[in-house]
Amino acid sequence: MEGGVAPADLKNVMREYYDELIAFVSSEPFKSLVEEMYLLPETSRPEFVNEKIVNLDFLSSIGVDVPDGILIQRSSFGDRRPTLFVVKKFLPEEYQVAWENVNLTFDQSQDKKGIAKDISAWRKPVPYALQAALQALEISPEELE
């Protein structure tokens, strides 16, 4: 493998980084916050994400201590998966030969038939703000055609 990193070593590092992400999302009070989001109707979740989950001031106010190197962000996929937010960590630079980061992505429930698995998954993603609004309205872009 290029860069002199053996696949087994890369796997070990990625495993270690996934474990850090799992430990964080499983820790209180972040765990309860995420579970509270999933009790809401899907239409209310994008606002909850904006106002609470990616809001570091809010997280701090309820006692969530986000470890150094862990990022909580919104994103959008080319395959149009209805995603909400992601908890992500970059691998050490020397291991970024193939993959650069690992993450846990939190989604809406999804009709998997509507998510591209062919080359159209390589479309440009839509702006995540639009994705959030469409989720809140329970409408797809195709329904506006």
């Binding site: 493998m1 290029e2 696949p7 890369l10 796997k11 990625m14 996934y18 474990d19 799992i22 430990a23 999302v25 499983s26 995420v34 579970e35 999933y38 009790l39 994008p46 904006n50 106002e51 990616v54 962000q73 994103s75 959008s76 080319g78 395959d79 998966r81 992500k88 030969v97 193939a98 993959w99 650069e100 980061n101 690992v102 993450n103 846990l104 992505t105 989604d107 429930s109 998997k112 591209a116 698995k117 062919d118 080359i119 159209s120 998954a121 390589w122 479309r123 440009k124 993603p125 839509v126 702006p127 703000a129 639009l130 959030a132 609004a133 469409l134 809140a136 309205l137 409408i139 506006l144």
Partner: protein
């Protein structure tokens, strides 16, 4: 839908994803993907980086795994590779065709409206910045993956195992 974060389930899911992500075939494809730029990267992604193509190359890709482009907030390196024009078109259609829904958004979800107004004002820095792949009404791409004139550019590659609400992913490219 309720969801309980289960560390053991996440560990199990990430174990499965890791087996695929760190297979020598997938690693080699990712190294090749990252070495390419622009249209060359597009061609490579579409010709080599769907789950079925990766399986044909010998990678063991679980049925529920997806490989896709992706963008993140706060990532200036991917800002030009978001489909802003399509996004602006959808906002316009929402306002014109479904003013009831636009009003609903303003009344019930005001914090989601401001970014859409910003989106409407956004001007692409380069008018020639390509858009996404055009699809026919069945969702089939209208562009030949081997064409020299692809209308879009790839940004980053992402592979995700999809279990429940939480999904394990790994990504690279586009500086994300």
């Amino acid at each position: 839908m309720s969801y309980t974060i289960d560390p053991e389930a996440l560990k199990s899911e990430t174990d499965e994803v890791l087996d695929a992500l760190t297979s020598s075939v997938f690693i080699d494809k990712m190294v090749e993907f990252k070495a390419k730029k622009g249209v060359e990267r597009s061609l490579f992604a579409m010709s080599n980086m769907t789950p079925s193509q990766l399986r044909k190359a010998g990678a063991e890709i679980p049925d529920h795994m997806r490989v896709s482009s992706r963008m993140f907030e706060d990532d200036s390196s991917t800002i030009d590779f978001i489909d802003y024009e399509y996004g602006k078109e959808i906002v316009q259609k929402l306002k014109v065709k479904r003013p009831d829904l636009w009003e609903k958004l303003e009344v019930n979800h005001p914090s989601l409206v401001t970014p859409l107004i910003e989106l409407e004002k956004y001007t692409l820095p380069d008018e020639d910045t390509p858009l996404g792949i055009p699809l026919d009404e069945t969702g089939k791409p209208l562009i030949d993956a081997n064409s020299d004139d692809l209308p879009f550019d790839p940004y980053a590659a992402w592979a995700c195992g999809c279990g429940g609400a939480a999904t394990a992913c790994a990504g690279a490219g586009g500086g994300s």
